[in-house]
Amino acid sequence: MMEGLDDGPDFLSEEDRGLKAINVDLQSDAALQVDISDALSERDKVKFTVHTKSSLPNFKQNEFSVVRQHEEFIWLHDSFVENEDYAGYIIPPAPPRPDFDASREKLQKLGEGEGSMTKEEFTKMKQELEAEYLAIFKKTVAMHEVFLCRVAAHPILRRDLNFHVFLEYNQDLSVRGKNKKEKLEDFFKNMVKSADGVIVSGVKDVDDFFEHERTFLLEYHNRVKDASAKSDRMTRSHKSAADDYNRIGSSLYALGTQDSTDICKFFLKVSELFDKTRKIEARVSADEDLKLSDLLKYYLRESQAAKDLLYRRSRSLVDYENANKALDKARAKNKDVLQAETSQQLCCQKFEKISESAKQELIDFKTRRVAAFRKNLVELAELELKHAKRGWAQWLMPLIPALEVRSSRPQANMGNLQLLQNCLAVLNGDT
């Protein structure tokens, strides 16, 4: 099917690398730079070529590449999560699984329905679907890349041994996806964790900062989830409206070719217009998807990771308090005091370590979030403007003759006149 990150149809040409910069403040220093230079889509898996440039002494070479699959990314992520040492950090959320099912289904349906539509329609729809496939492909590559970049940018995580192995070891890591038993285990673990989370969250925190963060994150996470879902739906409706333009264009074309009166040329022109508009509307919806929906989805996952951090901290706080109580009990009974003392010490250390790093992490999270939103919102607005102007100029061109004469009628609203004047200004100036 599709190979490589070649420049596909102009569908997503400029904006395709945009996702990389979701987290803006990546210290892309020379010490460690990671990116995904290539990707291959096979039957049911995607192979990513992870390319590293580094001046760190840990690596054998300065520049190297390995091929990795999605499961290996997940393995890396899980290894971070399970590592106690990283309990105090926000673990960058794992990239979502590459999902081409919907796209493949559509392509299949198109193939089946080939007989029932005209040649032009078929080619048009095929192109459309291929562009969609390409878009999903690019997105999944970007998501995986973001994950790696985040890890590389994190001062502690970048030193992780597993990470280095991931980057360097050029054989298969023989990480298999979780089998059913393990998935079931995971499921139960999650349930326990969320139950625990509820219990633990009942404990009020002494520290104002964390208390505030907790309430904030909880609410924020829910609202981001909601916004992300709605944004998704909006983008999808936009896309289906754009698809309708396609069909209308084809019908108008058919009308134009078959009509006998002089309206046929008119129809043909209008059909062209609809085609062009469809392309624009499709790009609008794609850009919205990229800048808005994806942003929200990413921060949904990140806020979940932040929540997880808070949970771990609360957990360790509870452990610390329990250890204190145990120590008091031990002292009272004068039994296993030393043991209780050491465990209390450990808990205390752990808790304080987590608290310290958590504070910094959460502050960083906020900074990152604000910057990412700013960047994406600005870009969204700019892209929408660009497309609206383009669409507007394009629609307006054929209307000028009609509008011109109309605008001289006494009751024609000044809007039309204004429209004309603006149009000319735009045409004479930029687009």
Binding site: D262, V270, K366, L399, P401, S408, L419, L427
Partner: protein, 519 residues
């Protein structure tokens, strides 16, 4: 993009014909000053947009050489100017109307301009006849508006009364401006009367709006929700279009029933339009019989024109139906988009509220506002989609059904003629037999019958000729109307799209600085 296309030769390339039109400017002195300031707008007399569209042979973005077209147009404009009455404002007042009133000056035809400027192959030479017709009569100036739907009565006997306003300068009406109240069954009654008088002679009578039991019941029951207001609005617009089409037809306009419908304050209730009445059932039976007949009649088409036309209309019907389906899908999706955008706007506002970084929070609220406005835009656009485009298509699909009906009538006429001929033949044979058998009284009877049938045959032939001629004329007229209608409406639709884009630009431009201000 714009760079590739030449902007139309507006400022510089104006033909000097415009100077000649200075005299025609009297009506527009107020706007002349503003017009002069903008190099783009020429100063011709006001002409309905339809003519332009009929003229310029479709918008051509790449080869915008309007000079020739314009010369044509404005050469005639000098004649036309005097006829323009300032009241040529579409007064389609209607309360629960969508943001865009779909039909503006389509009632106004200036057939002279059209017939002269039709650079398309003049398929029908009747255009010359029409010029003469119109030139003799009054200026064709009549505007009809349907407005103010009011619910009269209660319960299941309730009905909606619409105000039908006519503005005209035609001499056959007693006043120049009048209005009456009519209900839906009155419209149907009018249609059935006109149909019974004219359809079988070959005139294309515009079909009335459709009955809808479900919709009406909701209204009757008093459900004051948006779907019933939408339904009423849809119906009002449909009735308006129906009347406008009917009065555009020169022959139908002369009909006394139509005049009575427009003028008289009291109209006998048309009972036989009810679905379940005796007349209604009779209609259904007739329709079924017709359908069967159509299948059995085998007509020798001597005139290739008719065959060609029928085929064309068949194709057109199919294409229009397909297009209609796509446009309806677009309307549906656009409505969905609007709903989803509104939901997202709310969600974004909530998100903005919970965000504790003030600048970002403000930006998110702004985003929510922008999206809400865009949602409004989408809704309006959906209305435009629907009322302009989709309804136009469904109107034409029904019109084409009427056209097909007219063709069928011609077939029936032919059948009658054929039958008469066959009977005549039989009578002649009978007479011959009588002659041989030598029965004087029977012979006389036979001779009488023969005379009778000869007359019938002649009549049949005449009828057939007449209906063929009428159909040709009608089809020509219909085609012209169709072209005009489509162009006008599509151009209006494009305009609505342009305006939507403009608004979008405004909104996003307002949002951009807010987004940039996030520190």
């Amino acid at each position: 993009m714009a760079a590739e296309r030449e902007p139309p030769p507006l400022g510089d390339g104006k033909p000097t014909d415009f100077e000649d039109l200075e005299d025609g400017e009297d009506l527009f002195t107020s706007t002349v000053s503003t017009l002069e300031s903008s190099p783009s707008s020429p100063e011709p007399a006001s002409l309905p947009a339809e003519d332009i569209s009929a003229n310029s042979n479709g918008p051509k973005p790449t080869e915008v050489v309007l000079d020739d077209d314009r010369e044509d147009l404005f050469a005639e404009a000098t004649e036309e100017v005097s006829l323009d009455s300032p009241e040529r404002e579409p007064i389609l007042s209607s309360e629960p109307s969508p943001a865009v009133t779909p039909v503006t000056p389509t009632t106004l035809i200036a057939p002279r301009i059209e017939s002269k400027s039709m650079s398309a192959p003049v398929i029908f030479d009747r255009s010359r006849e029409e010029i003469e017709e119109e030139a003799n009569g009054d200026i064709f100036d009549i505007e009809i508006g349907v407005s103010d739907p009011e619910k009269v009565g209660d319960g299941m006997n309730a009905y909606m009364a619409y105000r039908v306003t006519t503005k005209t300068s035609l001499s056959m009406f007693s006043k120049s401006e009048f209005s009456v109240k009519r209900r839906f069954s009155d419209f149907l009654g009018l249609h059935s009367k006109l149909a019974s008088k004219y359809l079988h002679v070959g005139y294309i009578v515009p079909p009335a709006a459709e009955k809808s039991i479900v919709g009406m019941t909701k209204v009757k029951v008093g459900k004051e929700d948006s779907s019933s207001t939408e339904f009423v609005e849809k119906r009002r617009a449909a009735l308006e279009r129906y009347l406008q089409r009917t009065v555009k037809h020169p022959t139908l306009l002369q009909d006394p029933d139509l005049r009575q419908f427009l003028e008289s304050s009291e109209l006998p209730r048309a009972v036989n339009t009810q679905a379940l009445s005796g007349a209604g059932i009779l209609r259904m039976v007739n329709k079924a019989a017709d359908a069967v007949n159509k299948m059995t009649i085998k007509m020798n088409e001597s005139d290739a024109w008719f065959e060609e036309k029928q085929q064309q209309f068949e194709n057109l019907d199919q294409q229009l139906r397909k297009l209609h389906v796509s446009v309806e899908a677009l309307v549906c999706h656009r409505k969905e988009l609007s709903a989803n955008t509104a939901a997202f706007a709310k969600s974004a506002a909530m998100l903005g509220n919970s965000e504790d970084h003030t600048a970002l929070s403000r930006a998110l609220s702004q985003l929510a506002e922008v999206e809400e406005k865009i949602d409004q835009l989408h809704q309006e656009q959906a209305f435009a989609d629907f009322y302009m485009f989709s309804e136009l298509l469904s109107d034409y699909i029904r019109l084409i059904a009427a056209v097909k009906g007219v063709f069928d009538h011609r077939m029936k006429c032919w059948q009658k003629w054929e039958d008469a001929q066959i009977t005549l033949l039989k009578k002649r044979e009978a007479e011959a037999k009588m002659m041989v058998a030598n029965k004087p009284d029977k012979i006389q009877q036979a001779k009488n019958e023969i005379r009778e049938w000869e007359a019938k045959v002649q009549q049949g032939e005449r009828d057939f000729e007449q209906i063929s001629k009428t159909i040709r004329k009608e089809v020509g007229r219909f085609e012209k109307e169709r072209v005009k209608d489509f162009k006008t409406v599509i151009i209006k639709y494009l305009e609505s799209l342009v305006q939507t884009q403009q608004q979008l630009i405004k909104y996003w431009e307002a949002f951009l600085p807010e987004a940039k201000a996030i520190a």
